[in-house]
Symmetry: C2
Subunit: 214 residues, 2 copies
DNA sequence: CAAGTGAACATGACACTGTCATACTCGTCA
DNA sequence: TGACGAGTATGACAGTGTCATGTTCACTTG
C-alpha cells in the first residue's frame, strides 16, 4: 500500500525516456495477462507469480512496471472502470425523456452483469489488503457526470417552470444511480431473480421520476 | 471450500454429544476473537494464526470447530447478518405509514455504517477464496421478509381499493430495499457525502412511494 | 476398576502468497 | 572504452490456509 516512488505507467507512452533503456516487456502485456487470469480464476487466482508465468517473465516485472500488486490493481481498476464508463455512456446523447434514463440505467446494469470482476473491483473491496489509489478513483466521478447530465436533461423537459437547478439534477442523478446500483447488489448476492430485475428496476425508477416533484 | 464432514456448530448446543468429549474451548470464543480482529485489522488481519493466538490455543481449534477458515467465515456471516436483521427490525411494528418505511431504511443504513465489516461480508465478497455457504444465506432472505411486511402494510393503508397483492408488496419492498442499498454502496465507495445521504435517501424513497401507483 | 474409544488440541510440514535485496544483462552516453 | 542505469532474474523472508501426525484426556464399556 506504499504508493511512494511508484512511477505512473501512464507517462510511459514514450518507450524511450530520459536515456533509459526501453522496456523489453510491455506493461500492457502484464495487465492483459492479469485480466485473463482474473476472468478465469478470480481475484484469488490472479497472483504475481501466475501473471509473470503467463507472460513468460519473472515476478520482478510486476514491481518494475507497477511497484507491486497494488499498483497493478490500480491499473486494472483504471482499465475496467473505463470499460464500465464506455459501456454506460455509449447509449446516446441525453434526450431528457424517461426512456433515455431507463435505457442508461439498464445499460449500466447489463455491463455490471457482463463484467462482474470489473464491477467488483470498482464498487467493492475484493482484495482485502488493497484499497484504491487516489488517481484511480476519478473514473467513478467522471461516470457520474454523465448521469447528472441525463438527469438535468430530464428535469429540463419535465419541469413546469424555469430552468432546473444543478443541485436538484445531482440529487435526482444520485437517486436514480443508487437505485440501479442497489438492484445490481441484490442481484449479485442472489436475493433477486435476475430475469425479473429489469422489469422491477424500470418500475422503481419510473416511480422515482413520477414522484420526484411531489 | 470443502463443507464435507464439517459438523454444523449450531447443533453443538448440548456440550455432551454422543459420548464425545465436551469441547474445552468454546466455539464462541473463537468467533469473538475473529470479530475483534476483524474490527481492528480488517479481513486481511483476521488470520487463523492470529485468531488462535488471541484465544490462546492452537490453529487446529479453528479446524475442529469450523472445518477451516471457510466455516468460520460462515459462522461470522451468520452472526453479523443477524446483527443487521436485529437492528433493522427493532424499529417497531409496521404501521403502514411512510414514516415507518423511512425509519426502517434509515436504521438499516445506519447499521451498515456502524458495522461496515458485517455489511461487507453479507453483501460483498471481501475474501477472494470464500463464497458463502448455503445455510448461511437464509438470513438475508429472512430479513427481506420484514421489508415485505412493511411494504404490504404501507400498500394496505394507501391503496385506494381492495387488499394489496402480495406480489406488489414484494415489488415495492425490493424497490425500497434496492434504493437503500444503493445509497449505502455509493457512500461506501466515497461517491456520496455521508452527511447528505440521509436526506437524499429519504427523498428518493418518498419519490418512489409517491410515484408507485402512477 | 481397568481398558478402550474417540474427540479436542498441539505441532511440524507443505505449497502458496507478496515483497525485497541482490546480482546480472545490456543499451545509452560521456 | 568505461561508467551509468533501467530492466530483468533469482533467492530469501515472513506471512497465509491446510493437512498429517502425535498427544492428552474425559467418557463409555467390558
Amino acid at each position: 500500500m506504499d504508493d511512494a516512488g511508484v512511477a505512473d505507467s501512464a507517462d510511459r507512452s514514450d518507450p524511450i525516456e530520459r536515456g533509459g533503456r526501453s522496456p523489453s516487456v510491455s506493461a500492457d502485456a502484464v495487465v492483459d495477462a492479469a485480466e485473463v487470469l482474473l476472468a478465469e480464476a478470480g481475484f484469488d487466482g490472479m497472483s504475481v507469480r501466475r501473471i509473470a508465468d503467463a507472460v513468460g517473465v519473472s515476478r520482478q516485472v510486476v514491481y518494475t512496471h507497477f511497484g507491486g500488486m497494488d499498483g497493478l490493481l490500480d491499473e486494472l481498476h483504471r482499465r475496467l472502470s473505463q470499460r464500465l464508463i464506455d459501456a454506460a455512456t455509449s447509449v446516446s446523447e441525453p434526450t431528457g425523456t424517461t426512456a433515455h434514463l431507463l435505457a442508461a440505467t439498464a445499460g449500466y446494469r447489463s455491463v455490471a452483469r457482463r463484467w462482474p470482476d470489473a464491477y467488483q473491483l470498482v464498487f467493492e473491496r475484493p482484495v482485502a489488503d488493497y484499497s484504491i489509489g487516489p488517481d484511480a478513483e476519478r473514473f467513478g466521478l467522471e461516470s457520474f457526470g454523465h448521469v447528472v447530465d441525463a438527469a438535468e436533461a430530464w428535469l429540463r423537459v419535465t419541469a413546469e417552470v424555469g430552468r432546473p437547478r444543478r443541485s436538484d439534477a445531482i440529487d435526482l442523478a444520485r437517486a436514480v444511480w443508487s437505485t440501479a446500483h442497489g438492484f445490481v447488489v441484490l442481484e449479485r448476492v442472489g436475493f433477486a431473480d435476475p430475469s425479473d430485475t429489469d422489469r422491477l428496476c424500470d418500475r422503481a425508477i419510473r416511480a422515482i421520476l413520477a414522484g420526484w416533484h411531489a
